[in-house]
């Protein structure tokens, strides 16, 4: 099978926009299903009361990771043609920190704010306005800070390469970490939420 399909010319740029819309529907749908249109549910993660964010995120990561690994192994997907965003280590560390703080201050992340907006949350509107303001600010400042913002460019870099471990081992470690994390998350929930963790493992 020649996949990724787009990379092998199955369809062109125009149709890829249709694909984008359809994939977006799936994305938004499952985010809302999980309850991520609610800032309170999202932030309860950081008060250890509701570990849904951790659960959903890592389940999704493990699912896609395993799927891609096996499809690549079967030769059904050419892994070298799947785009991996280049690593800019220190800007990403700083960005992640800011994002984490922004998550608790604002109550959403960009993706979930859209879902919240679509389900009527007015505070999401303020959040989205804030995103634009932030992007405008950093866009204007970019030439001035590009020294830092474009530093530590390590290119396409994966954990197996960094750790000098076979990809399969890293995959297993991620799975074990996720499963262990889910078990621990349930324990944390019981302690801090004081309710039976019906969603725990």
């Amino acid at each position: 099978m020649n996949a990724p399909l787009f990379r092998f010319g199955l369809f062109g740029d125009e149709f890829s926009l249709v694909v984008a819309f359809l994939i977006g529907i799936g994305f938004g749908f499952f985010l809302e299903r999980a309850g991520f249109g609610s800032a309170r549910k999202l932030t309860d993660q950081f008060y250890l009361k509701d570990m849904a964010v951790f659960r959903v995120m890592f389940t999704a990561i493990v699912t896609a990771m395993l799927g891609l690994f096996y499809l690549g192994w079967l030769g059904w997907v050419d892994l070298s043609l799947v785009y991996v965003s280049p690593t800019f280590l220190w800007p990403q560390v700083a960005g992640g920190l800011l994002l984490g703080v922004g998550f608790v201050v604002g109550g959403y992340c960009p993706g979930t704010s859209l879902v919240a907006l679509a389900t009527g949350k007015l505070d999401a509107l303020a959040f989205v306005a804030g995103i634009f303001a932030g992007i405008f600010a950093i866009g204007e400042a970019w030439p001035a800070i590009s020294g830092f913002a474009e530093s530590s460019a390590l290119g396409r870099l994966t954990l197996p390469e960094v750790l000098h471990l076979p990809a399969g081992l890293v995959v297993l470690l991620v799975v074990l970490m996720a499963v262990g994390g889910f078990w621990g998350a349930a324990a944390l929930e019981r302690r801090f939420a004081g309710r039976g963790a019906g969603e725990g493992s």
Binding site: R7, F8, L81, S85, L172, L176, F182, S201
Partner: protein
């Protein structure tokens, strides 16, 4: 975590077990990439050869270049010195041993050529074995390129109008590649002495400059998130 030891696993436990099992499978697989070994479908490859879909003629290649097509990669398999002396406009040099490491993209057309076509045929086989879907040999190699494209033969005096018209086109094309038409020598076949390829500075290919060898992705695509 379920207290005690229930006889049946909960759904979550089954999911977790399934994920761990797949993870262990991944550990055993190690590297999802191929690692150099190949599996072949001999019948499929034989069918491609017989179906003559494995090559392009110098005529076709020349037309592609003149038309400014950018959707293929042209690979010269010869030695560095030969490449430096002359190469088809737009070709990049990759020795046969370097093909694996060159990491050519699988979603591109790859046209291979060598002097006579033998090395390119062998390289074709290697790339097809690595599941490259669109690989082509330049039929007859550089030798045929010289004869057909660079130095087309003037038709006999009694040739028909169509043949003469085709020749005129070929001669004009040859000129754009830095070659020239040549007369057939008297006798059985046109003499083929050591045809000297034109100097490398010559190829001014109409209408645009030769496609730059190198990056397969010609237009910059923003793929951020």
């Amino acid at each position: 975590m379920s207290a005690g030891r229930p006889a049946r696993w909960t759904r979550n436990q089954k999911l977790a077990a399934g994920a761990v099992a797949l993870g262990l499978g991944a550990l055993l697989i190690g590297d999802p990439g191929d690692g150099g070994r190949v599996t072949l479908d001999a019948r499929e490859l034989a069918a491609l050869v017989e179906g003559e879909v494995d090559h392009v003629t110098p005529d076709e290649l020349a037309d592609w270049i003149v038309a400014g097509r950018q959707d293929f990669r042209l690979v010269d398999l010869r030695a560095e010195a030969d490449y430096a002396a002359y190469h088809v406009p737009g070709a990049e040099r990759i020795p046969i041993t370097g093909l694996e490491d060159a990491e050519l993209a699988r979603n591109e057309k790859i046209v291979l050529y060598s002097q006579e076509g033998i090395h390119s045929a062998q390289a074709w086989f290697l790339l097809k074995a690595r599941r490259y879907p669109a690989v082509y040999i330049l039929l007859g190699g550089l030798a045929q390129w010289q004869e057909q494209v660079l130095y087309p033969v003037r038709p006999e005096a009694g040739a028909g109008a169509e043949e003469r018209a085709a020749f005129e086109r070929a001669a004009a094309r040859a000129a754009s590649f830095g070659g020239a038409a040549r007369a057939a020598a008297a006798g059985l076949a046109p003499a083929v002495p050591a045809l000297v390829p034109p100097p490398i500075t010559a190829p001014g290919v109409a209408p645009t400059a030769p496609p730059p060898a190198g990056s397969p992705v010609k237009k910059k695509k923003k793929e951020g998130c």
